[in-house]
Structures are given as C-alpha cells and as structure tokens.
C-alpha cells in the first residue's frame, strides 16, 4: 500500500466533490444493503464493494457515455458510479419489477442497456470473452468506443482470462481489463491462487501494456486510468490495469471469514479510500466542511429514497413467468 497521492492538475472542486459523493454513495448504499439483507428484504447472494470504492469511481470517471462496461456479481459500485439510479438497483435487489432488471436478476445481475452497463455476471470470468467481442464490434464499426471490463484476481486464474487476453491482443481491440485485486477469491488468498503474485505481469505475456496501481488511492486510480484510456483511444489496442485493493466486508453474506485475521482487516481499513480522499480535498481546499456535510446529507437522503422506492415497488405477476425467454417479435 503506498499512501502517496499523485496530484492531478485537472481536479477542479466540482469534479472532486462529485467523485467524493460517488464514493460515499457506494459506501452507504452497501452498508444499507447489508442491513436490508439481515431484514430479509434482499435475498440470495449479496456481495458488497465496501473498501473498493476508489476503483469503480476512479476508473469509470475516465469513460464516456459511449463506452461499454461489464462487471461481476460484486457490481453495485460500478453501477452507481455509472450513474444508474440507486432506487432501481435497490428495487432490483428486492426483486421488484421496478428494478433495473425487472427484478429478474437480483443483486448479481444489474443491467442498464441505456447506460451501456452490461451486467452483473455471476460466473467468474465469463464476461471477459464477451468484453473482447464488444470491443471487436466497436473496431469493426469504426466506433471510438472502449469496453471496460472489471473482474477479481481470482478470475485471472481461469482459462477464459488467458483466452480473452490473447484474443484482445491478437485482434487489437479497444478493451480495458480492470483487475480488482482485493487479495482474496472467497476464502482463497492470492498466494494460494497464483504462482506469480504480480497479476499485471500476466498482461506482458500477451504483449498487452499493463500497470498496477494502489486501488485504495482514488487519485492514483484516476491517473492510471486516464493514461490507459488515452492509450487505448490512440492505439485501439487493449490495456490491462491492476488495482490493488481490499474488501472490508465478507465475501458474501454467507461467509464466516475463517480465512483471514481481523487484524489484517483493521490494518487495511487504515487505508480506507474515502477518508483519505476527503482529507485530500480539504487540504487542497477543493471542498469546505459545510460542503462535506451537504454531500453527506444528500447521500443519506438518496439511500433512504432508494429504500422507499424499493419498498413501494410491485411484484411481477405470475402469468409473466415465462417472459423474456425468447425475444418478442
């Protein structure tokens, strides 16, 4: 964990405050989701993003609305950073038809085609080849469009990771692979999954330009992503960004966390990206205490509104059970 934040010349107060707002929204949205899970309002599997906020926010700020995003089952943060409505996400997790996937998908399957947010994939690594294909389509259609694909370091052990990297390099397609290395795949620490611990080295094997960055440091993630995106737009070639980070909570709500020491978690919490960025904003005079309070109040209000929206949502009628199996002509 390096603690040095690279100073970026481009961060104006408005943007800084917006990014802070996004990270705080993700944090509180996730905490609230955990609460709703224990109340039985959210069911199934629930994987929270707490601790990793700087990655989603730092990466997605570098993308345009035309770019594609694909993610995993731990995707609430990416969806929120993309600007999806908190209410639509919460309603999805409640299983209500007002949810962003009509309630059909739940927590692991958030979709919003209008924002080019292509899920929410719960089979580890299964979206990487699709990301390559979307980038291939952009290339064939001569669109100035990047496909950004988030996944964990556990996924980098799957065959599909290696196939996707090779295809992307071979075909020279504009895809940004973002590995969120949070040190654990469920209960399996990285040293039990990977013979080579520097995940970014795997990119080099395929001739893909690769960088690793401190994923707890928003400014560092932004900086690295801005450069990566720039590169991809110029060359049309893939790029591999590894963000070293940590999840503060359990893998999912079914996890007794037998595999890691509480002290280790506490140690990483000292690198919490949110207070760190808040300090930075204050020091750089990009935000005032009053503005911080305002953002905090706004976030609380929006999270509560998301709950209210989900509570007020309705169940899809049983007659519609077999809808969406084939396209309606």
């Amino acid at each position: 964990m390096s603690s040095s934040s690279k100073k970026s010349k481009t961060l104006d107060p408005e943007k800084g405050q917006h990014l802070f707002y996004q990270m705080l929204l993700i944090r509180r949205f996730e905490d609230k989701s955990a609460e709703q899970y224990t109340k039985g309002k959210i069911r199934g599997f629930l994987h929270l993003y707490v601790g990793e906020e700087a990655v989603a926010v730092g990466v997605i700020q570098a993308l345009t609305e035309e770019d594609n995003i694909l993610s995993t089952y731990r995707e609430h943060g990416h969806a929120l950073a993309r600007g999806m409505e908190p209410g639509g996400i919460m309603a999805e997790m409640y299983g209500k038809q007002e949810g962003c996937s009509r309630g059909r998908g739940g927590s692991m399957h958030l979709f919003d085609a209008s924002r080019r947010f292509f899920g929410g994939n719960a089979i580890v690594c299964s979206h990487l080849p699709m990301a390559v294909g979307m980038a291939l389509a952009s290339k064939k259609q001569k669109k100035n469009q990047i496909t950004c694909c988030f996944f964990g370091e556990g996924a980098a052990a799957e065959g599909e990771f290696h196939e996707a990297m090779n295809l992307a390099a071979l075909w020279e397609v504009p895809v940004l692979f973002v590995c969120e290395n949070n040190q654990y795949a469920m209960g399996t620490a990285i040293q039990y999954s990977h013979a080579v611990l520097e995940i970014e080295k795997k990119g080099a094997a395929y001739g893909i330009e690769s960088t690793a960055v401190n994923g707890m440091d928003l400014m560092a993630v932004m900086d690295a992503t801005d450069k990566a995106v720039d590169k991809i737009r110029k060359t049309g070639k893939p790029y591999f960004l590894v963000c070293n980070t940590y999840r503060f909570r359990s893998h999912s709500m079914f996890d007794a966390e037998l595999y890691r020491d509480k002290k280790e978690v506490e140690e990483w919490k000292k690198a919490d990206p949110i207070p760190a960025f808040q300090d930075y904003l204050l020091k750089q005079k990009l935000i005032t205490k009053t503005e911080l309070e305002k953002i905090s109040a706004r976030v609380d209000k929006e999270v509560q509104e998301a709950i209210d929206f989900a509570e007020a949502g309705t169940w899809e009628p049983l007659e519609d059970l077999t809808k969406f199996v084939y396209s309606e002509k």
Partner: protein, 330 residues
C-alpha cells in the same frame, strides 16, 4: 428401528462424515476444490477437515475448474483416489470437456486399458433465490453420457453412504448434492445400510400410483405422499438415486403394481430425465398402465430471482398433490 440405533443428523453433517470416513480409510483419497480448506467449504461441508487431515489431503485450488477437474482425472489415472469438488453445478459447465471427452471416454478409446476412478461432487439445485446463473438442475446433461456413473443424493441416508460406494467404482462418478437440503435434519440408522450405487430405492410403499423422482424431488414427493395418504391415496415413492446406469427394474415393477405413474423433477421439462423414464415405461410396461403417465418438471425459463417466480418455476408439494389427485380422481 430401535431409537438407540438411529441418529439425528443434518444432510451437511452426513456428507461431512462420509468425507471424513473416506479420508480415514484410504490414504490415496484426497479432496480438492475451491475453498474446501481455509474457507471451510462454500457450504461448510468440509469445515474442519483441513485441520484434521492437512493441506496434502484437503487442497484448496484456484478458480480453474477445467484445470483442476482435469488434474483430478489425471491423478485418478495415475493411482490416486481424488474426490474433486466443483463448488456448484453452475460452474460444472467449465470442466465438462474434461468430464465428457476424457473421464467418460478414456476407457473406451483406449480399448479398455485405462480406467478413471475419479469422484466428482457438485452442489446442485434450485430454491435459494440465487437467480438464473446459480440455480441449475442439470443432472440430465450428465445422465446423457455413457461412461459416467451419475448419482443423485436425495436422502440423508445416501448423503452418509453414497460416497463410500462411489469410491469403490473403477469408473468416473458424478455425485449431485442438494444445497437446499444442507440444513435439513433427519433420523437415520447409525450404521447406514449399504445401498450400493446400482439400484433405485422404494422410499415409500403404496398401491395407488408410482411417483418416480430423484434429488430434492424425493423429500417433496414423500411430503406429498403423506398428504395424499390423509386423503386416502396410497402412493409409492421411488427415489431413482442412480441416474446412470439406470435401474429400470425397480420402477417398472412398481408401475406393474400401481398401474399409474407420475415423474417429478426440478430440471427443465423438454429432453429432461422424466422423458427417459416415461419412454422406458412406454416400451416395457405400456400394457400395465391405466392412464397416461404424467410428468411435473421445471418450467422452461432461466430461474428468476424473486421468490414467488422462483417457486412457480419448479414443482412444489402442492403441485404434486394436485397432479396425483387429478390423475386418480378426475
């Protein structure tokens, strides 16, 4: 059964005891799978085994299903007795090439020279609101493949006893365990009877209709049979247990007795396992039937997340009861 000869046990604990016993009995046996060790097993089935048997016998593996299942097949060919755990059947598609093109095929391709005594366990089933990618009942996919032995653990008795029998097999065995049953508690004999892995089992005897099922269908059909009994219908419940090679004798004999049959499964209907059962009844017991055989299966939709839609996607006890009542008292 004398009270003292039985124990109350969860399905999870029964599975764990069978694993422990296998590891104790034969030092060629080792367990490998994602999170079987340090995490304690995705569903806590192998919790504590790492501490008891050490890292050589309880191996955590990376997310590389095709890789480690293939490695399990190789280890079996080279003299070990691996128990490979694929966390759930949902991820079982990734190693399917290894399972079908290697495990199931090597004996035949090598003209009988190479056998593959690997045991592959997978968590399976629908009913925990895990949505479309995590709610699969794909036993029929595997049951389609010659060369595999395919087992479905529908009872606590089999949770305790089936693994030992599977490890005796010279050929690859796939065991489906049902995650929705893990916390269920049941009374079973302390010394589980050796049921082997070649025969189906009549779980309840009856004279009015044969309900043929497997997996989570077993406890649902037993419950339905109990309710039907209160209304004067005496149903026989057959737990197929072994989906391949299929024991048809047991259910054909049952149909010859009851002259009515209903097949129940969670898997999608078209080209499902029930189609196979019904074909065999048509071919070999048609003249025993008083009415067309019916089937209750999964609705043909990727399983949706919300509870009410999920429940409507697979046969429930009330559906089984209704179906039998309609068949017998139209």
């Amino acid at each position: 059964m004398e009270a003292s000869n039985t124990i109350k046990i969860t399905y999870r604990e029964a599975l764990k005891q069978s694993l422990r016993e296998a590891l104790q009995k034969d030092d060629r046996v080792f367990l490998m799978g994602e999170d079987v060790g340090r995490y304690g097993g995705a569903f806590a089935v192998s919790k504590g085994l790492l501490e008891e048997f050490g890292e050589e016998r309880i191996m955590d593996v990376p997310l590389s299903e095709s890789g480690f299942v293939g490695a399990g097949i190789g280890a079996a060919m080279a003299g070990m007795k691996p128990i490979v755990e694929v966390m759930t059947i949902n991820f079982g598609l990734l190693p399917m090439d290894q399972i079908i093109n290697n495990a199931a095929t090597l004996l035949h391709m090598s003209g009988g020279q190479l056998n593959v005594p690997v045991v592959i366990r997978m968590g399976c089933g629908i009913g925990r609101q895990l949505a479309a990618q995590h709610s699969h009942s794909w036993e029929p996919f595997y049951a389609h493949v010659p060369g595999l032995v395919v087992l479905s653990v529908g009872t606590h008795e089999d949770a305790r006893g089936m693994l030992a029998a599977a490890l005796e097999s010279p050929d690859p065995v796939i065991i489906f365990e049902y995650t929705s049953m893990l916390n269920m508690e049941m009374e079973i004999a302390k010394d589980v009877p050796e049921l082997g892995i070649s025969k189906a089992k009549v779980r309840r005897e009856g004279n009015d209709i044969s309900i043929i099922t497997y997996g989570t269908g077993v406890h649902k059909c037993m419950e339905a049979a109990a309710e039907l009994a209160r209304g004067g219908i005496d149903a026989e419940v057959i737990d197929l247990r072994v989906l391949r090679p299929l024991d048809e004798e047991t259910f054909l004999a049952s149909v010859a007795k009851t002259h009515q049959a209903l097949v129940v499964e969670d898997a999608w209907c078209s080209v499902g396992f029930s189609a196979e059962i019904i074909s065999r009844i048509m071919e070999k017991a048609f003249y025993e039937l008083d009415a067309p055989v019916k089937r209750l299966c999964g609705v043909e939709v990727p399983i949706p997340y919300p509870l009410h839609l999920e429940e409507a996607s697979v046969p429930q006890v009330k559906d089984i009861v209704n179906s039998v009542q309609k068949t017998l008292k139209p």
